[in-house]
């Protein structure tokens, strides 16, 4: 068996021979972490390295890539958000986190306006989201100042994505643990929906979901997003509610909806309106179920 000192030397040698360009960026605490991980006596009495720490020491030059994965895990634990791009309307729906009795509901908002014509919803760590939103809001106004034009949705998405990427490639910082859905209208009137991840990539979507059970919602959208489904504004809103109802527990009470229509500012729907829409959807479902029964019986 190797002595503790020999083990440390071996680990250091391992690191030293690593040809990666990232070795020099490691902070001291990471290297210490590796040394500490060496002296662990496993159940069988043999020296063993704690699995997590072993992974750290073997691939510590990939530290940032793992951090990104961890951030994506954090996103998967966040509450669901859905975004739909219609023809003259863009809709954002989020699952409302249940608030405690004494808590003011209004302070817990997951849909935020970045400018008059752009807004975003996020899934993941709320504190990280706050920082990103602040920077995005400042950037929207800076753009208005220097270019004398409101931002395009693509521009602000690219800015947010670049910001996130910077945190995946610098020393002593961890990536933002949020995924964002950014919706809005461009200067020329085209509706847009973009999604960003913690790694700093962004893509345009027609409809997408992020957060907990995003897969289920996305599958539902893939089946039901047709041109007819988004023909009118109301239909698009209903589609968003339907998608959320798949995964949300108790119906209309736990859904928050925001809507941007062309040339109009962001509008957050009140709970009453959402309740009426949910009632309409349930009624439609019942009607359809009845029709099917009738068809079967005839």
């Amino acid at each position: 068996m190797f002595s503790l000192w020999q083990k440390c030397v071996r680990v250091n040698q391992h690191l030293r021979h690593c040809p990666s360009p990232w070795t020099h960026t490691h902070s001291r605490e990471q290297r210490l972490h590796v040394l500490i991980g060496v002296c662990y006596r496993g159940q069988t009495g043999r020296w063993a390295i704690n699995k997590l720490q072993k992974r750290t020491c073997m691939t510590v030059w990939n530290q940032k890539a793992h951090q990104v994965e961890y951030a994506q895990e954090a996103v998967k634990k966040g509450s669901t958000a859905v975004g739909i791009r219609g023809k003259d309307i863009v809709v954002l729906g989020v699952e409302k986190k249940s608030v405690a009795k004494l808590q003011e509901e209004r302070t817990v908002r997951k849909i935020c306006a970045l400018d008059e014509h752009v807004c975003m919803a996020f899934a993941g760590l709320t504190a990280d989201a706050r920082i990103v939103i602040n920077r995005a809001r400042v950037e929207c106004q800076s753009h208005r100042l220097t270019v004398e034009d409101p931002v395009t949705v693509e521009y602000i998405t690219r800015h947010i994505a670049t910001l996130k990427q910077r945190y995946t490639q610098s020393n002593g910082r961890r990536p933002f643990g949020i995924s964002a859905l950014i919706v809005g209208f461009d200067y020329d009137g085209t509706p847009r929906l973009y999604q960003t991840d913690p790694s700093g990539t962004y893509h345009a979507w027609k409809a997408n979901a992020i957060g907990r059970s995003a897969k289920t919602v996305r599958e539902f959208l893939e089946k039901n997003y047709t041109d007819e489904a988004i023909a009118t504004d109301n239909e698009a809103i209903k589609l968003a509610i339907k998608a959320l109802l798949e995964v949300v527990q108790s119906g209309g009470k736990n859904i928050d909806l925001a809507v941007i229509r062309r040339n109009q500012p962001l509008k957050l729907l009140e709970s009453k309106e959402i309740e009426t829409l949910v009632a309409e959807i349930e009624k439609e479902k019942e009607d359809e179920a009845e029709k099917k029964k009738q068809k079967k019986s005839t």
Partner: protein, 313 residues
């Protein structure tokens, strides 16, 4: 006992205790004074345009560093010249032996003109560069092609204008690549104004007009090294601007055709070169339309003179 000195005038106290310096001390002081004097003169002359005696200089005004106060910000004829008013010509009179510093060219003696009309923007410039009473060149290109749909004119320091406008061209191209659409004239002029504002008060001399066509239609902005950035329908910059204004103001209508507008621009520059000694050479005419800019004509002022004066005879 020491406080009694306060009851006598300082001069009496000073003369009672004369400070005697050695010869070496006095020689050294003389040398230092001479050095600092020459240095300051060199610095002054390199910044000054003592020769280009254009009307932009108001020599009886006191020193003003950086911004001009009191006067309107839209003194276009005076704009390129007024920023550093160290201009007291007499000081550089007899004992001025540093020849090379005097020959730096400035284009305050110039006439550049741009105006908007229904079919776009017309840009007309002369092509003379003077260094004092000496005509340095009759064939200067005072319009810089930033990109196929943006033009910038040059008035003031030739080096300043061409450098900053080429830098602007680079920024515009990067913007185009990043955002997959052309930069607007407003944004381009804003970029230039912000770049130049950082050097405000450091002696830049630039009075330029950024002209182009973007999705909002024709765009025309005047940007100068003071940090002014003004949107407008008609601008004339330089020593001959007053004459050009007179001609354009009397002939400008919104419903001009392209040929009429070109002729108006040509006429305006010709009249300016006729009366202003510091403008001349050729008249370069550009037309900016929705597809970009086109170079309409380049005509010698003498030829224009015959053309306009013939019918009178």
């Amino acid at each position: 006992m020491k406080c009694y000195r306060l009851f006598i005038p300082y001069s009496r106290w000073r003369d009672a205790h004369p400070i005697v310096h050695s010869q070496k001390y006095h020689r050294r002081r003389r040398v230092c004074r001479l050095i600092s004097k020459t240095l300051s003169k060199m610095a002054l002359s390199s910044v000054l345009q003592s020769e280009s005696a254009d009307f932009s200089f108001n020599n009886d005004r006191s020193f003003s560093f950086g911004c001009r106060f009191g006067q309107t910000d839209l003194g276009f004829g005076a704009a390129p010249g007024d920023r550093l008013n160290f201009a007291i010509k007499a000081s550089l009179g007899p004992d001025d032996k540093d020849g090379p510093e005097r020959k730096i060219e400035f284009l305050h003696g110039t006439t550049t003109l741009a105006f908007k009309f229904q079919h776009g923007v017309i840009v007309a410039v002369d092509s003379r560069a003077t260094a004092g009473a000496y005509i340095a060149s009759q064939t200067v290109k005072k319009v810089i092609e930033i990109n196929p749909y943006l033009l910038g004119t040059m008035a003031g320091g030739a080096a300043d204008c061409s450098f900053w406008e080429r830098l602007l061209a680079r920024q515009c191209r990067v913007y185009e690549l990043r955002n997959k659409e052309r930069i607007s004239v407003a944004a381009a002029s804003k970029l230039l104004a912000n770049m130049v504002y950082q050097y405000k008060g450091m002696g830049l001399s630039m009075g330029t007009m950024v002209c182009g066509w973007d999705k909002r239609g024709p765009g025309l902005y005047y940007v100068d090294s003071e940090g002014n950035r003004v949107c407008g329908d008609l601008f004339a910059v330089g020593s001959g601007s007053m004459y050009a204004y007179g001609v354009v103001d009397s002939g400008l209508r919104q419903d001009l055709s392209v040929e009429e507008a070109c002729e108006l621009g040509r006429r305006a520059i010709y009249q300016a070169t006729y009366r202003d000694a510091y403008s001349g050479g050729q008249v370069n005419l550009y037309h900016v339309h929705s597809e970009g800019w086109t170079r309409v004509s380049q005509e010698d002022v003498l030829k224009l003179h015959h053309q306009y004066q013939e019918p009178k005879k």
